[in-house]
């Protein structure tokens, strides 16, 4: 289990800062984001809308739209090389091959006018030196792996002929065709019904066991994280506020934001005997816009433990126990 101590990270992000410029001027969507991904692990990046989790994912594949968006600072190391220094050709060789991505909306990420077969074999033919026939056979194998019934027939179909769950399976198959080292899944089950979500999550975990792919799971759903990830990174307003092993974070959160999020969830696992409703803990206020100027801790305006110091000084991201880090001055006072 001790992945961090005896293994080299496969992907390492250091002090990443991404800015967007719009009519209100420049703003940092993510600021000083650093984390490591180790082989074969599932790392969840969790946070509410606008916290920068998707921007982080897009940066890894250099998919930030320019000129509005720009990776201003930082380092993204994959197998010892800095992705930020890659030229276009190397990027093409990287995307979908070594690192691939699944998006939230499977309908908009598949081409509606090409058959499933064409879209899948294209990936293999582009990245690997194989014939169309070999590509087709490999594709069929992959479709079997993601449990598509009747894969041969599926190759001839168009995306609109498939249901949401099936399309997401296709996306997973496409992402895994070249046996990537890293799979980035951006809200892969958010658009799906809960019974289908369960199927897709099971599938992702099964495939990870088989192929040993490292997964970055981006989600807002703390329940999904609890059931699938090994480690978790909690983001708030463009920064990482807490990082650690899932069990550790859920049992012993050391940032008031994480603590508040976990408390505000209506949950079915602690129904009490007399059927009385426990009032949900509210977090006052809203997530600040990235354009607001801030001094001190970004969570201070909503924090129940806020002190004068928090409003002036930014808390450093530091270790509180083995592999558990938080950016909070008051972490010892969370109960």
């Amino acid at each position: 289990m001790n992945k961090a101590s005896n293994k080299q990270p496969i992907l390492s992000i250091k002090n990443l800062r991404v800015i967007f410029s719009g009519e209100f001027g420049e703003a940092a969507a993510i600021n000083d984001v650093s984390f490591d991904l180790f082989p074969k692990e599932t790392l969840a990046v969790v946070g509410e809308s606008g916290c920068g989790k998707t921007v982080t994912a897009l940066s890894i594949l250099r998919l930030i739209q320019s000129p509005q968006g720009k990776i201003e600072k930082g380092l993204i190391e994959f197998e010892g090389k800095n992705i930020l220094k890659f030229d276009t050709r190397s990027l093409y060789r990287l995307r979908g091959n070594k690192i691939s991505m699944i998006f939230q909306e499977p309908m908009t990420s598949l081409n509606p006018v090409l058959t499933i077969g064409r879209q899948l074999t294209e990936v293999l033919i582009f990245h690997q030196n194989i014939t169309e026939k070999e590509a087709k056979n490999k594709t069929i194998e992959m479709l079997q792996l993601v449990q598509i019934p009747d894969p041969k027939n599926c190759l001839k179909q168009y995306p609109h002929q498939l249901s949401g769950g099936m399309r997401q399976r296709i996306m997973i198959a496409m992402a895994l065709l070249c046996d990537p080292k890293v799979l980035i899944a951006d809200e892969p089950t958010t658009a799906l019904d809960v019974t289908i979500q369960a199927q897709i999550l099971d599938l992702m975990l099964e495939i990870q066991e088989k192929l040993g792919t490292a997964i970055i799971l981006i989600t807002h759903d703390l329940a999904v994280v609890a059931n699938t990830a090994d480690r978790v990174v909690v983001m708030y307003a463009g920064k990482i506020v807490e990082e650690g092993k899932v069990k550790e974070i859920y049992n012993n959160p050391r940032h008031p934001y994480t603590h508040g999020l976990l408390k505000s969830l209506p949950r079915l696992d602690n129904l009490n005997e007399n059927n009385k409703k426990i009032r949900l803990t509210e977090m006052p206020g809203i997530v600040p816009s990235i354009y607001t100027k801030r001094i001190g801790c970004t969570f201070a305006p909503r924090c129940p433990l806020v002190t004068e110091r928090c409003r002036i000084e930014e808390p450093p991201f530091k270790s509180v126990s083995n592999e558990h880090r938080t950016a909070c001055f008051e972490w010892e006072n969370i109960n």
Binding site: E48, S49, S163, G165, M166, D193, V194, T195, I196, Q197, A198, Q199, L201, D202, H220, D221, L222, A223, V224, V225, A226, N227, T228, V246, K247, Y250, N251, G260, L261, L262, S264, L265, P266, R267, L268, D269, L271, N275, K277, R279, L280, T281, E282, M283, P284, I286, V287
Partner: protein, 325 residues
Amino acid sequence: MKNKLKPLLTVKDLYMHFPIRRGLFQKTVAHGHAVDGVSFDIASGETLGLVGESGCGKTTVGRIIVRLQEPTTGKVLLEGKNVFDFNKKKLKTFKRNVQIIFQDPYSSLNPRMTAGAIVSEPMIIHNTVPRNEINNEVKKLFDRVGLHSEQIDRYPHEFSGGQRQRLSIARALSLNPKLIVADEPVSALDVSIQAQVVNLLTDLQRDFQLSYIFISHDINVVGYISTRIAVMYLGQIMELAPRRKILTTPLHPYTESLLNSVPIPNPNIGYKRIKRLKGEVPSSINPPSGCPFHTRCPIAEKKCSIEKPILREIQNNHFVACHLR
């Protein structure tokens, strides 16, 4: 404990079939069975949760109740009177009593009206409050739902998602309704905001003796807020029981599988990778014969594909539509 008091609202044998038209002359080739025989009632001050996967008909039921849609057949009785027999005048009174909150707080508010105008419009149309007191009333409503009165002159785009949903709630409350149909009211909101709105709805219910029909796909939220829960599948109610019974001792195999699929935010429990539902919800255009769930049911027998089970009371106040329970 059956509702000895007269129910506030009764829904009886509701059917909603949409014609599917094809071809040059738009011939009706089939019917989509959005709602297929739904009946329930709801008491004053109660929250009935309607839960199910997309396409199960839960939203259509909600829209029929507030008369945004006419059902193919069936009745909706408000305090014993069929709302589809109402004339114009009675309908106006009905609309005062039954209000709806929509899922999307972005598209359900008129972007060209100020927040104050949105909340006061129902009171002007229904003439419930004298003109000179409307401003005062709007302020009170803003205060009640947790908005600042300085925000009265702002437009919807100046509000955040959670605030917009508060605005929708204020609009629904402005007529002092008895029943609010809340269609996925917190689904578009972030977790930390979701708790604020859920708590607000709970408080309002206590203060105004409101009844809610709470429609959602999120079993965690429905399980939290509801008094009773109706689980829907392909246009039918599969199980209807008090909240605790549904959550702890479900009797219908669909409810059981649904609950097993819900991830629990607790890493110590672990994802139960058992009793997963195979396959997907069949199309409502040609729903399966017999029990609509038999194609995915882990315990289905021959009978299930032939005969449609009716919703019957198996235990006190616990209704299940399954041959095998």
